[in-house]
């Protein structure tokens, strides 16, 4: 319920404009007639509408068997989608990943077998040259 907007009851006489100046009351009367005229329809329109409403009311509700026929395929499709999704998530990683792991391991092993860090390689070469002389 809306409770805000307390009305100013001192202005209540204005709620009946038909008692006010004639011109405005006349405008409202014509407005009413024009709205009513715009909603006028031939008799067959009302009969057709009434028949449609009654037909929709009297239409039997779908039986449990019919509902099962609709829901069963839908449930099957959902189940299949879920199954495929789970299966795809279990698939082995691609070979590319395995290959790159292998290369990385080889590089690590090579770095461990070196006597010096890779950054000091130029100094090591220089040291070897001195030793040779």
């Amino acid at each position: 319920m809306e409770r805000k907007d307390n009305p100013d009851h001192s202005k209540e006489p204005a709620l009946d404009p038909e008692q006010g100046p004639g011109n405005f009351a006349e405008s409202l009367r014509m407005f009413r007639e024009s709205v009513r005229a715009s909603a006028e329809r031939p008799a067959f329109f009302w009969t057709r509408q009434r028949n449609t409403i009654l037909a929709r009311i009297n239409k039997p509700a779908p039986s449990a068997k019919f509902r099962a026929l609709v829901w069963a395929p839908a449930a099957l499709v959902v189940f299949l989608c879920l199954f495929l999704l789970v299966e795809n998530s279990k698939a082995p990683p691609p070979d590319l990943a395995a290959g790159s792991d292998q290369i990385l391991l080889i590089e690590v092993e090579r770095a461990l077998n070196q006597d010096y860090p890779e950054a000091l390689a130029p100094a090591a070469v220089f040291n070897d040259e001195i030793k040779k002389k």
Binding site: P7, M30, F31, A37, A39, R50
Partner: protein, 185 residues
């Protein structure tokens, strides 16, 4: 307000399944109200059907506290407002609205062409002013001056306090009167 006997009779009518009679008695008023709010004849027709279907499905909830017509009108107005809230149709509604005012004709029973023209202008002015009202003011204005419903019934239909209905109506009248006054100048 309806008397207890009337309410009981209406309750029995709706429970007894005499729905053909209920549709016959109320369809014109419901259609007219929906057409005024939604501004589209096809939508008004569909919503009228939906209103009676909803009333039939919810007939157990009718307790006879208001008249059957008021109860149906309440369902219709809720449906109309739900329809207007549907933003997918906003574009089409705007298109419809532009030519709606032009198509409304003033009553033809007037003596001279000059008279008819003045009346046509007055009616167009009222329609334009009503178009600019808020949805609640517009509905209250329509229920009061087209359907000629009493204020307490309007309050029941719109689920508002009667004081709020008076406020909406007062503001609507002032807006329409002001538009008519400007047109007269």
């Amino acid at each position: 307000m309806t008397s207890a006997a009337e309410a009981e009779m209406q309750k029995r009518t709706i429970e007894g399944g005499d729905f053909d009679w209920i549709v016959l008695q109320n369809q014109k008023q419901i259609y007219r109200t929906l057409l005024f709010i939604v501004r589209n004849a096809d939508a008004a027709e569909v919503l009228t059907q939906e209103c009676f279907l909803r009333a039939f499905r919810k007939r157990d909830s009718f307790r006879g506290e208001s008249s059957l017509a008021t109860w149906l009108m309440r369902i219709a107005i809720n449906l109309a407002h739900d329809h207007l809230r549907n933003r997918r149709l906003a574009f089409w509604r705007r298109l419809m609205r532009t030519d709606r005012i032009e198509t409304i004709q003033a009553p033809a029973a007037h003596r001279s062409a000059e008279h008819a023209l003045i009346n046509q202008e007055l009616v167009s002015t009222v329609h334009s002013a009503v178009e600019r009202l808020s949805p609640k003011q517009k509905t209250v204005f329509q229920l009061r001056f087209v359907e000629e419903m009493p204020l307490d019934a309007i309050a029941q239909v719109m689920d508002l306090e009667i004081g709020t209905v008076k406020t909406h109506l007062y503001r609507a009248i002032e807006a329409v009167r002001s538009a008519c006054g400007k047109q007269a100048i």
